[in-house]
């Protein structure tokens, strides 16, 4: 089945099996393996990308459901020579070890900051109204869908904290 997607600002078309997940479409059909597969079941967050600006687990959705959608992957955030500020902070804070969960952490954090800017509360927010102050507890709660078995958590959050509105 033919599908057209806008991936990292570029129109891409591909012919694929209806069973292909959006994650596998990126990794295996569009040559964008930066998005990782850790579980294929929505349990680890390694496959997090932005679809129309919102973060999702790309393993839990089929490519054919995304006709015309705007997709942002880690490759669209910044390459090795032009890293985004968040990517740079992951490097300087050592917010990773093996690097496998890292693209998912960074994409998830990018989506999470946008959610916070839009006033979305979390389970630990003091109030449902108004903008949450992105304390460490808030960031931890909002990032808990992204597992890191290397356990770089404190340093991942340090990198994210450098990119919140309050810290800018």
């Amino acid at each position: 089945m033919p599908i057209s997607l806008k991936v990292n600002g570029v129109e891409r078309t591909l012919e694929c099996d209806t069973r292909v997940s959006l994650l596998d479409a990126l990794r295996d059909h569009l040559d964008l393996p930066g998005t990782k597969k850790g579980c294929d079941h929505g349990q680890c967050g390694a496959c997090t990308i932005l679809v129309n600006g919102r973060r999702i687990n790309s393993c839990l959705t089929l490519a054919v459901m995304h006709e015309g959608d705007e997709i942002t992957t880690i490759e669209g955030l910044g390459g090795p020579e032009d890293l985004s500020p968040m990517q740079r902070d992951f490097v300087s804070c050592d917010g990773y070890q093996c690097g496998y969960c890292t693209p998912g952490q960074i994409m998830s954090a990018t989506g999470m900051l946008a959610e916070a800017r839009d006033g979305m509360p979390s389970h630990v927010s003091e109030s449902l109204i108004g903008k949450a102050n992105l304390s460490d507890a808030e960031i931890a709660e909002r990032m808990s869908g992204n597992l890191c078995r290397c356990s770089a958590y404190p340093f991942i959050r340090e990198a994210i904290a450098r990119n919140t509105e309050q810290s800018q």
């Binding site: 990794r27 990782k36 579980c39 990773y96 690097g99 078995r149």
Partner: protein, 731 residues
């Protein structure tokens, strides 16, 4: 190995004199930009022309024989390419450093979930569908023992018996006799196990998520019946290992066999559930700890007995009491192991095999004994630090336990610790706990090549970087020795065509491969001295200048001809006369909800003596990673088995609870003590990645006791157990 250096005596601290500001510096990882931009390529991410996809088929019986496969339904699918099985298939992954094929069981099944065949198709989706349609016929042999309590067991004879434990227990002023249990653990590295096999003629190239390339090459060649020269293994990026990728396993062999038959590259990536089924787990343990002490806290007896499990014929036995053998002095000692032989998924090395679970018993036992004696638990440990290895009489190399306990207690605010169950903030009970950290340090034979040209240096070895920082530290060692800025050093790793190193395992990689790089660079310095015309011991290489014996030259001028040197190292006399271990202390503060039994870790401090720190930043990450694993094993992680089949239930990341962001506080602090381990290796460093977990969980459990007055003996300390404890205490 060409003219190998043997570690027979303490070596001079050359790296303390080179003065280039690289060694130990908290430099960013050189591969960092690739990792954060998704450009670091892991095994499953290569797409050679014509690649097809394999999905493993698993056994759904516990014990018996496969009598046939019916592929009719699968073969009807367009794009189906075939079913592969046969005598080369593996029963289970090779244990670490095996260097030869693990058991190849033919049509025999020995555990539920054993990979028995591979389905290959043009697409992953078709292969997955086809694998589900394969009908397997078995001749099942029912009644396979799967419960370690009741399965047949054996007792290996390497036990320790010193003095008379029973008599000492009768006489002790204070004694402790406790049973502890820990469940099985999964390494659960974030990258699922993967292989990509490609043949060119009779030569196999295998990209694999593997930790020990030199051994893996030999294992692979042995398993498929080719010469090692015909095999090349590559693993430049590995998405975590923690022991689970030490040896070759089903995906490598099956990919190699299918690729040879189909004459096409074949990729096999394990589903997460298959990783749980078919990758070696950490055994569950049942432990008995006995301690006896005088009133002043001096231990008179230590007994540590344990029961672990593994499949018949597997040589690996979790060394549960590893730290007990040398951490504390006591004249009467007993260490004894029983191995249950059963048909659960076989067990193997998972981060700090031994200490990770054995130190729960030892360190929680010490905490309880301290309470019985009315002695501060920090003090009790300080009073029992041995002069020499209590079993072997070896001299300890740098031994930081006392300093770590003292400095840690001070930095953590240990003096603010209150009586158990007395500090409260609303529904939360607050407490602090301590535990010692210890993890044996080793030097494993390693080789490396360093090439120095006018453009900079190139470091080459088959050493892997599984997130441990090898790319960073090996470059730092070479740069420090050769007077180069770090961006003039490149590091090529994890290719079996390069000189063979230890690989990543047992926390020995950095020191072992690092020593080989150090020695190769030292040979280059010797050659530079020769070219300059000075004695090798006088040469200084400082920021592009070479000096010695009042002579001076620009490095570039001495490099009209490049210099390439290879060096090898192996352990020697110092490993016999001395005993090297990382030591440290963990301090944890927790809050326990009196309503829900939930435990929240508020902060942890780890203070460690690990010899020379090679990169402060990656070292800190390794240590914190280990400490977080300690939290996981204390509070959440638990493999459960179906009592009928032994099959691992909850075999995914939603049911096996590795720590997540919300479980881990920001305050995970690490301090490294200034230390050099002169007898360990010529760079005076020790392992870090496993020291961080060793004892960390016990500190959390001891903090729970201090918060609530409850003792948990069956780990992990999940809320149900805490609530049960509250109820038993009438709360």
């Amino acid at each position: 190995m060409s003219d190998s250096f043997t570690m027979n005596e303490a070596q001079p601290r050359l790296l303390d004199t080179t003065d280039q500001g690289l060694i130990g510096a908290p430099l960013d990882r050189p591969e960092g930009a690739l990792k954060v931009s998704g450009q670091a390529t892991y095994t499953a991410e290569y797409h050679p022309e014509g690649m097809c996809h394999g999905v493993l088929v698993r056994a759904t019986i516990t014990r018996g024989t496969v009598t046939g496969f019916d592929e009719t339904a699968a073969a009807a699918l367009p794009g189906y390419l075939g079913l592969f099985h046969g005598p080369e298939f593996l029963r289970n992954p090779a244990q670490g450093m095996a260097g030869k094929a693990p058991t190849q069981p033919g049509d025999r099944v020995a555990y539920h979930g054993q990979p028995i065949a591979l389905v290959v198709a043009e697409s992953f989706e078709t292969a997955r569908d086809a694998a589900a349609r394969i009908v397997v016929h078995y001749d099942e042999q029912p009644g396979a023992p799967v419960d370690p309590e009741t399965a047949p067991s054996e007792e290996p004879d390497d036990r320790t018996v010193q003095g008379d434990l029973d008599a000492a227990m009768r006489k002790g002023a204070a004694t402790l006799d406790r049973a502890y249990t820990t469940p099985g653990h999964a390494a659960a590295a974030m990258e699922p196990h993967a292989a990509l096999a490609e043949w060119e003629g009779d030569h196999l190239t295998l990209h694999g998520a593997l930790q020990m390339i030199r051994y893996n090459k030999a294992e692979l060649a042995d398993a498929i019946g080719v010469k090692p020269e015909q095999v090349r293994v590559l693993a430049p990026y590995i998405g975590g290992g923690f022991g689970s990728k030490l040896g070759i396993s089903a995906e490598h062999i099956s990919a190699a066999l299918a690729a040879r038959a189909l004459k096409r590259p074949v990729r096999v990536v394990m589903a997460r559930q298959t990783v749980f089924d078919a990758i070696l787990r950490r055994t569950e343990t049942a432990q008995r700890l006995r301690l006896a002490a005088e009133t002043d806290g001096k231990l008179t007896a230590i007994g540590h007995e344990d029961r672990i499990s593994n499949l018949e014929g597997e040589g690996f036995a979790e060394p549960t009491a590893a730290a007990t053998q040398f951490l504390y002095a006591a004249p009467n000692r007993l260490v004894r192991k029983t191995i249950s032989r059963n048909h659960r998924t076989p067990s193997g090395s998972v981060r700090a095999p031994g200490e990770a679970v054995g130190m729960f018993a030892l360190e929680c036992g010490m905490d309880e004994l301290a309470e019985t004696l009315g002695i501060c638990p920090v003090e009790l440990r300080l009073r029992n630090i041995p002069e020499k290895h209590p079993e072997t009489g070896q001299t300890f190399t740098a031994h930081a336990l006392a300093q770590a306990l003292r400095e840690g207690a001070q930095a953590f605010g240990w003096d603010k610790r209150t009586e158990p169950g007395t500090r409260r903030e609303g529904e939360w009970l607050i407490g602090m706990g301590v535990a010692s950290a210890a993890r044996t340090n080793m030097l494993i034979a390693s080789s490396a090549r360093v090439t120095l040209t006018r453009d900079g240096a190139l470091v080459e070895t088959d050493m892997t970087d599984i997130g441990t920082g090898s790319y960073a530290i090996l470059g730092q060692i070479a740069g420090e020795m050769l007077g180069l800025p770090i961006d003039k050093v490149s590091v090529h790793l994890a290719d079996s065509d390069l000189p063979g190193a230890s690989g990543s395992g047992g926390s020995f990689g950095a020191s072992s491969a690092g020593s080989a790089v150090f020695l190769a660079a030292r040979k280059i310095r010797d050659e530079l001295a020769k070219r300059l015309g000075c004695a090798p011991e006088d040469v200084r290489v400082d920021r592009g200048q070479v000096t010695g014996d009042n002579k001076k030259a620009a490095l570039a001028d001495l490099l009209v001809e490049p210099i390439a040197m290879e060096a090898s190292i192996e352990s020697g006399e110092t490993a016999k006369t001395h005993f090297s271990s990382g030591f440290g202390a963990h301090f944890a503060e927790v809050a326990v909800s009196e309503i829900t039994g939930e435990v929240r870790v508020r902060r942890i401090l780890g203070v460690f003596g690990v010899g020379r720190v090679l990169n402060e930043k990656t070292a800190r990450s390794q240590a914190v990673g280990g400490m977080i694993w300690g939290v996981g094993s204390a509070l959440h992680e638990e493999l459960s088995h179906d009592p009928r089949t032994g099959h691992i239930v909850g075999r995914d990341l939603a049911n096996y609870h590795v720590p997540s962001h919300a479980d881990i506080p920001a305050k995970m602090e690490v301090r490294f003590l200034e230390e050099r381990d002169d007898h360990a290796n010529p760079i005076q460093s020790k392992g870090i990645g496993e020291l961080g977990i060793s004892g960390a969980g016990a500190a959390v459990i001891n903090a729970i006791h201090n918060a609530t007055g409850l003792r948990v003996y069956d780990f992990p300390a999940t809320p149900d157990k805490i609530v049960q404890g509250f109820m038993e205490h009438g709360r």
